[in-house]
Subunit: 662 residues, 3 copies
């Protein structure tokens, strides 16, 4: 299955022709064609230009842009243009604007200035989406629809009265009666017993810590409310243009939106990724996000935005060193992307993103950046055949937004130092370093066929989820502070690990967070030791073997890591999980896709009659990799076998024919 | 005099039966009895359950709870349930809610969400207090009344229009005329001359620094406004149940409320104390708070809340290591408490405090925590005879809220690095380490009979207070930046030390705060040196001997510490006050209650025919203490003499018969 | 030309008699006369006392104050008293108060609590200014008018609806049509296309980053709006008292107000300077501000406020060590001031500034501070002849508020680590250390006759400004990130250095900010190296010689510093610009006014028949200076030649007769 009707890999970027005089457009189209660009994202922020007055449209310029693109063989990722409501809508309906937790009505002047629950806003987006679909649904340039932009980047939540009404409706749907809400929210604590839904508000600023179940439901509601905004438009697009795929650009792994739920509402998953070039390990975090994007629908996805070089919104915006733009583009493909797009085509000369890099920089075609653009275009042509190929992973990491949100409750957790993304990364990084393919899964997914499932944290864990894990017949690793609460954030009877108690064979007597900067030591069966930070637990071992015990300190001699059958439990946060991971990988029979030295990333994609081995050297010195099988490097055309030398920030993409695989 | 009608020491905790199905209650009562619990704090946050609709009461469940407790020999510290106004009151009267300095009306969702000046809120609490008193005043379980909860924890101040009206009334009472206010507030500065009270507002957010006398009066008003809330309920309870003692739980030493004034309005002083287990010196700060609690009414007090192990509101909530819960409980008794209570009995499974430890943890009776509970119950029975015994202290530390508030004025002081609690602790810690008993006193107290009075700071010092100090015939130590202003925060004529000038025999030419991280050195008469941080003064010595002079720097050779007669003045903040303290203690003839090695705390309580020596080893290794007199350890029943070995985090409570004392 | 009608140098301070009983006034006048004070700033915050009720005036006390001063030979710098609107105006017209970006209406309680755009406020100040001018315009004490106080100290901006209307008017004047605004603001970016001015608001809090041109215009507007407040009063004063000079006290070099524009509206420039005594280099920053003050009108200026010792608004207010008050006073004269005044005469005993030092401290005439006051008075008499003398500088530093504001745009620049004041100081400090006289210039100034012009940064640079620099025939140094945008904050075609491209002979391929804490190295032609922090650029050298190249790192071998003719360009921020500066100073033939060792500052003033050499030893040990010419030290009356020894924090002011100059 292809992402769009465009053959091969997608290459392009955001294109904002309305920022330029029309004479520049022809030059743009010519240069795009020269660079091999085959898709452009258009009209993301064009509402105020397309509909300058209520119901009065100005489509002429966009007609000409789309025609021009089409003439040059460039398709359009066409936005519904609803990312920023226009000034006239804001001024006629001031309450379209969002309100913060202090009650401040935020003003126009930035972007994404809407209340997600505003009926006026939703109706206006619906009207525009329908007009756009009707006008451009049959345009030959149209390859896909792009709804809004980076939902939740600036506006994840609104605390206005309209949002309060909407929240109450959402709560009434969830709990049926106010008694149901009182039970779920535990309003007997701190005297919060409600007697009617209209007494309930969003978690606006209050004198002290707010009810954590109210906060958890608010997080759920905010994700849902924005998803409804998406669905309002999607329904119209499906109705008018049923054959055109629809997406919205995600923002990599981020806490605001439950992307499992969101991805189900999309035709294709697309992502915006901005790893920091100043961080030498940022490609590892990017890999985790990319694996999530692929896993969301278990199929190829689209890197819809990345920066050719520097961004403009960090305090210090370091540009990408030579080779990194190409290498990071290949990395996205290695993790299952079928296209590489950028923010943006031509560098802006005004506005908040004028110093954000672009495929065509301020310095124009004489710039080094433009040479990078041309080179990447050629590379992508060489890799066209990987489009549509898939990735298989024996290992799955569990990611659950309910647990993420629950962990993040302010002022009421054993430790505020637990962020689910960090906990995932602690397992992902050593898997990545070993060249092992990883999928992300929800705790509600079918795990059948996996060799190893790792749940770094399942703070919120239902009986159904626990039963699914118990039924899983592969190896399982569970991290600390799991099985603590149910969907209402109520502690399970008897405390942690709640419904996982029998599966793990341990009970938690007491959570023991560690002060910032302090450490504990655990000693493994082989007498080696590991350092623990942030978290320990006093475990009671009911029916498990002990793999490691604390040494010294108040916990001296107590169990730190245990195993029952194929299930390993860590009651602590290791600085480095490798000792545990290596052991379990061996037991589970998980193998890397290639044997790689430090700094080299290895990924595999499987086609019908060949597979593809990506070897990406993120280091600043050359690296040597031993090849298991011979193949042809698609980037250079060389036939390689036995061993390949890969230059700094260079890569090899080996095509290995199916017969070579046995 | 006993705290309540319950014989011996009190043992128990907050009990929130409304959070549990009724079948759990019987189990609770049985376990309480098993543990030796004799008192439970009930109904603190029950308003929304007891009065679910205006004037409609549901007392059935509380009736059953109190009956059940009584059947099991457990008394009730019964709350008037007014700590959190119910949702219906908030929604019917939105201005019951507090408003912050920015004008944001805070919303429901936490606790303590009331404006202290709200007539609606006060009337509603009065109504509920009366109904509670009438219904339960004769209940056999009732041992004491508990009004509200931790006043000022979240809501110390409200900036709403009602509060503004109330503030104006308070000011009119204080100053009689607007001219009086103008004079006191120094409105000639910065052009703030008022011509009518209705021009005056609370110190809401302003463009720059706010008039410091306005701020000082605001602090006084806020303490008074909450005290009025307390008194509204207390008056009703006294009327309906004149024989039942009334308290509200203080929050250890804290700047918000003038506890001298508050304690006078109570029948018994009770305190909530949460020393951080991650801080190895937190027991010293706790000791200071406990000595304050005892001093407030100069009689036994009640530790109404502490945590059995971890709390839940810190960023990282470290649990108590083995032995600390018992040791800290004994420490409270050593400092004059007649009971040890906890938050809370049964660990919550929902809400913001579900990870706060409890006497009965999530893991239930199989937990280590439950064993600690049982052990402490037994220990308290053994110590029953200390109930009602008293403490005498030759040394008094002066604590004055006016000075605390004055010192804390933002953006207008010589240094923002002076907090009165820190200044007190700098003297308290070495006294505590020496095993010397200390009382806290107000500068308005009678000092007769003290051997040594230490005023770490008297920034605000009236002529009357100065005269009292001058008339005192013991030894006196006065810390820097004292005698600076009068009650209106006006600098005394001629500058510091103002009314203390003759007593001290020095004048301050200039305050000389030290930059953060920098130090000065002073050289004592014996040629030893001390390090100075944060503060120095250029002193003119009028009539005093110089005990120490600065060495090096701009102040080289200038007087740093002086003495006139029995009065020692420090014009600087020493890193370690021990050289000065040791000298004065010797001169004053002050002796420790026992000779203790580092880490061992020694306290004494005096009974009618015996006294009791508490030796508390806060260290993590055993300590050996030489005994002056033989006695019997109440905890073990051993007869001890000459020397006793005390294990890590263990304690001895020696009963020493009166005849053995001379 | 003299600053005022007072002969010689001005000496005095703020005097607030309304804070004291009338019997103190006579003592004040006597002591002022004794100290040689010849001017007092009066009535700055007196509005609420002079007009206690709308239109009802109480001038009696001020009449008596002015008469008393005059009787003692003391002139008045008479304020129009409009710095703080009185409570009655605030309460009758609540919207006189300013509103912050969150919409909070700030309350009374501090000072400067007005909306700069408020017609009510402006009318009230106009009324008071007229009454003051009419009443005191002929008073013999009146020497100058002092409008308001430290504009923009607390209130630089207001976001209220009135300010919004005013902003729109300002924008309509600037852009004529909404299309003009749309073009300038680049509203095609992020969908901000306006169709009417009434859709436009101040940059109130928004969901994300705000349009940077909107922010730049807001900065311009805020400076202009306050300037209009000044001009409302000035126009009246000019009308009623055309011969009395008018000033307002600036706040040293600060970003809020475009002082080039402001100074043009004044008769004389006056400044408030508060270098931090805790910072041993603070005199260098003060020197930069003083050179700016002199340059603003290219004539003598007045130090209207400094602190005799400590201030009261820092977190830690360190007093001045012995000698610093005198030395810093002489420093102002050295940089062209014709008077030295202080905040304030008599130390307040109440209010937010009661711990701010004064000429007459709390401790009175027995204080050391009072001795300093007397000494300075005598010194100023000895220096009377320098009044009116001028300063010539071969070197000019370019300072442009548009660039400052542009650089400071939040969340949209390559680096948030570039502040124009820091960039200026990096060049000013080594010039100052060398004893080289420096003027500040605007990029719109005539540069004719300068030997060297240094533009540390010209982020915003118009074609006209570039042409002026190109036409300049002296030596020019341009710092990095220059020539980037035009007046609308639009990037010049082809990117930086835009209109400076031909002049510099380089193009910027990419900006390369450096992460915090990281460094790069550049190697000069003589093989010496310099360290680079915060900023580098990838330069394309079009037509220039390369003076230094990067060594190591991604930029290895690339040009870092270039020269084309007399124009040197730095594409990076050197830790120490000395290697470049020394080279260019030699080429340009710039010489110091004296050869001074480290810590000694040298400045020169030129009179009709003599010049004056100030040698100021800021060090804490004695310094020896070789004299080029003999002269007489005005402070001691000694005749000096060849060499002079200057004690720590001491100074010499040499009168060198004209004939000695050749």
């Amino acid at each position: 299955m292809q992402l769009t009707r465009i053959p091969g890999l997608l290459f392009g970027g955001d294109y904002n022709p309305e920022q330029w005089p029309e004479e520049v457009w022809a030059q743009d189209a010519k240069l795009m064609a020269e660079a091999g660009v085959n898709i452009a994202t258009v009209a993301v922020f064009s509402w105020s230009r397309l509909e300058p007055r209520p119901g009065a449209y100005d489509f002429g310029w966009l007609d000409r842009v789309l025609d021009l693109l089409h003439e040059h063989g460039i398709a359009a990722d066409l936005a519904t243009a609803t990312a920023t409501p226009p000034p006239w809508l804001i001024r006629e309906h001031p309450h379209v604007r969002p309100v913060d937790a202090n009650g401040t009505l935020l003003d126009f002047g930035s972007r994404q200035g809407y209340c997600p629950s505003s009926p006026v806003f939703r109706a206006a987006t619906a009207r525009l989406a329908r007009v756009m679909a009707q006008r451009y649904g049959q345009h030959p340039a149209l390859a896909m629809w792009h709804i809004s932009n980076e939902y939740a980047d600036h506006t994840l939540e609104c605390f206005c009265d309209e949002s309060a009404r909407h929240f109450r409706t959402w709560l009434a749907d969830r709990y049926a009666s106010i008694d149901g809400l009182d039970a779920a929210w535990g309003t007997s604590c701190w005297g919060q017993h409600y007697t009617a839904f209209d007494q309930v508000n969003p978690p606006r600023k209050a004198p002290g810590p707010i009810n954590p179940t109210q906060l958890l439901d608010w997080r759920r509601f905010c994700s849902d409310a924005l998803l409804e905004c998406f669905e309002v438009e999607r329904a119209i697009l499906r109705e008018v243009t049923p054959d055109v795929p629809v997406t919205t650009n995600f923002m990599s792994i981020l806490p605001g939106l439950d992307y499992w739920k969101w991805a189900a509402a999309e035709d294709l998953v697309s992502d915006d990724a901005y790893p920091d070039p100043a961080d030498p390990t940022s490609h590892v975090g990017a890999a985790l996000s990319y694996d999530l994007m692929r896993s969301l629908k278990d199929r190829p996805w689209l890197l819809l935005e990345q920066a050719p070089s520097a961004v403009s919104w960090r305090a210090v915006n370091v540009p990408k060193p030579a080779g990194m733009m190409r290498l990071h583009s290949l990395q996205a493909l290695a993790h299952g992307a079928d296209g590489v797009m950028f923010f943006q085509w031509r560098q802006a000369v005004y506005g908040p993103e004028k110093f954000h890099s672009a495929l065509l920089p301020h310095a124009g075609v004489r710039s080094r950046g433009w040479q990078d653009t041309l080179r990447l275009g050629k590379d992508l042509e060489k890799l066209a055949e990987i489009a549509g190929t898939r990735t298989a992973a024996d290992v799955a990491l569990v990611l659950d937004w309910d647990s993420w949100w629950g962990l993040a409750a302010p002022e009421s957790m054993p430790s505020a130092r637990l962020d689910l993304k960090d906990l995932l990364a602690a397992w992902y990084a050593p898997l990545h370093a070993r060249g092992i393919a990883v999928d992300l899964v929800s705790p509600d997914h079918d795990l059948t066929g996996r060799r190893l499932v790792i749940a770094p944290n399942l703070y919120l864990c239902t009986a159904e989820q626990a039963a699914r894990l118990a039924a899983f017949d592969g190896h399982l690793i569970v991290g600390p502070f799991s099985g603590v609460v149910d969907t209402a954030d109520h502690v399970h009877p008897g405390g942690a690990p709640g419904p996982l108690r029998e599966l793990l064979g341990v009970s938690v007597d007491e959570f023991r967070p560690i002060p910032d900067g302090a450490t504990e030591t655990v000693r493994h069966a082989d007498a080696s030791t590991s350092t623990v930070r942030r978290w320990t637990e006093w475990l009671a071992v009911d029916d498990a073997s002990v793999l490691a015990r604390y040494r010294g300190g108040d916990l001296d001699g107590q169990a730190a890591i245990t195993r029952r059958g194929r299930v390993t439990y860590l009651g602590c946060l290791l600085d480095d999980v490798s000792p545990v991971l290596s052991d379990v990988l061996t037991r589970a029979g998980v193998h890397p896709v290639a044997d790689v030295p430090p700094g080299v990333e290895a990924c595999r994609r499987d086609g019908a009659d060949a597979h593809y081995l990506f070897l990406l050297n993120h280091g600043t010195t050359a690296a040597s990799v031993t090849l298991r099988e011979p193949g042809r490097d698609l980037l250079t055309g060389r036939d390689l076998r036995d061993r390949v030398e890969i230059g700094p920030r260079d890569a090899v993409v080996l095509r290995i024919a199916q017969e070579g695989e046995k």
